[in-house]
Symmetry: C2
Subunit: 262 residues, 2 copies
């Protein structure tokens, strides 16, 4: 077999605003032969792709999967073998909830040269939109990026395993707020702990709704993609961050408090 | 007082490679009056600033603080009041370990218009450099972004509060590997859990060292800025990710296992 000289680029498309693409991503989109993109990638970003490139939507649409992961893996390899330059474009950053793992494996197994181009992940775009410092040192020391999907193994979403100085960012395409609220309560988080729902961060229809864990249950649903920031840093009025308004509620350990290797 | 019409932009400079600046950040650097930057911002990024701008290094250098946080806050407000366009440039993303909280407060109190421009945070740049999918669904369901600083309150770094499906990313400027290794062991993480040290991610002198929690203690130190990725996703050989090589060690609960609101 001839050596493969084309590269597959796994590229973060950022949160939506094409201005938040990296310079490298923008350059690659203007010079590639093929783009395989997820449905989360915005129209405005797709508009930056060179008209010479073939564009393939591999994402889900209205619940219908267009291509399986195996099919996507095969496509990436087969284009590379044809020495075509491929951009695999993923919403946000490829290494955060971007399902890059299996694609990287497939490329390695086939000895296809690849490069990951990081992007702005939805968590920080949402924090920027809401004016929230996720690690405000008066209220937080760390950030947990996690997700919510109905029917998944509950053990994997151990939200009880967060301290009061952890900011929790919940990527939640399509999640029910009432269920998320209940799960956070079950995890031992205080009912009046602030949270902010950020919809379409960085896009033209960006929205921020300030709430708390209890009120979240009855909030009207914001359009997807939406993301939830939970923690003291999500207090809308900044002075509350340092007021320790929730300290009094922190005495009793949460119900689901046993941390373990599962 | 006249209304302030100039804006202060809190801008993420990304991990170092100027190609990983967002298009928006690059544009702002070419059009601003003032740039106040941290020492973590790379020389290559600073070279993109318009020659017309005044550039102020507000970061620490060799342990010596150039300006206090209060002085930085005052500078931001005073330039805005003079109707100068200000870029406050921070390494990585402003909302992740960027100390944006106090600056945002100062700007709000002074009614200065501001905007946060998110950037590529060091965690995802390091993951990209190492070819690690932080949320590889075969091995991880969430990501904890945390930090290590000598002398800080240990309670704030509750590494025991991670499950075996949490990828831990440790921002660790200047940390001692032996101490980090001991703390991770104290937190109940298995000695042979993989980790990767990534130094100068995205830069010309980028380095990745594959290790595990036990061996970390004796690794030679890599140049700052360095970051540690800990978890099953950090297995150098991808097949190990799904092999559950560490499952057998996960039976006993970690020593520091009590999760609580502190």
């Amino acid at each position: 077999l001839p050596a493969i000289i084309a590269k597959v680029y796994l590229v973060g498309a950022g949160p939506g605003d094409p201005e938040l693409l990296t310079q490298k991503a923008a350059r690659l989109l203007q010079n590639t032969d093929i783009v395989l993109h997820d449905s989360l990638v915005s129209r405005e970003v797709l508009d930056l792709i060179t008209p010479n490139a073939e564009i393939i939507d591999v994402g889900k649409r209205a619940g219908q999967k267009l291509l399986t992961q195996d099919e996507i893996n095969s496509l990436l390899v087969s284009y590379a073998v044809q020495n075509k330059m491929v951009v695999r474009l993923k919403g946000g950053d490829p290494t955060i909830f971007g399902r890059a793992g299996e694609e990287l494996d497939a490329l390695r197994r086939a000895n296809v040269p690849y490069e990951i181009v990081p992007g702005v992940t939805a968590a920080t775009a949402a924090a920027a939109a809401a004016g929230i410092s996720l690690t405000d040192r008066r209220a937080a020391s760390q950030v947990l990026l996690t997700t919510f999907s109905r029917g998944e193994n509950g053990k994997q979403m151990d939200w009880g395993a967060v301290t009061s100085t952890t900011s929790l960012v919940l990527y939640m395409p399509g999640a029910e707020y009432a269920e998320v609220s209940a799960r956070l309560r079950d995890g031992g988080l205080p009912a009046d702990l602030p949270c902010a729902i950020v919809s379409a961060a960085s896009g033209a229809r960006q929205m921020v709704r300030w709430s708390n864990i209890s009120r979240l249950a009855t909030e009207a649903k914001l359009p997807a993609p939406a993301l939830l920031i939970v923690g003291r840093v999500a207090a809308q009025r900044a002075h509350e961050i340092s007021e320790q308004a929730w300290a009094a509620l922190d005495e009793s350990p949460p119900a689901a408090s046993t941390t373990r290797w599962i």
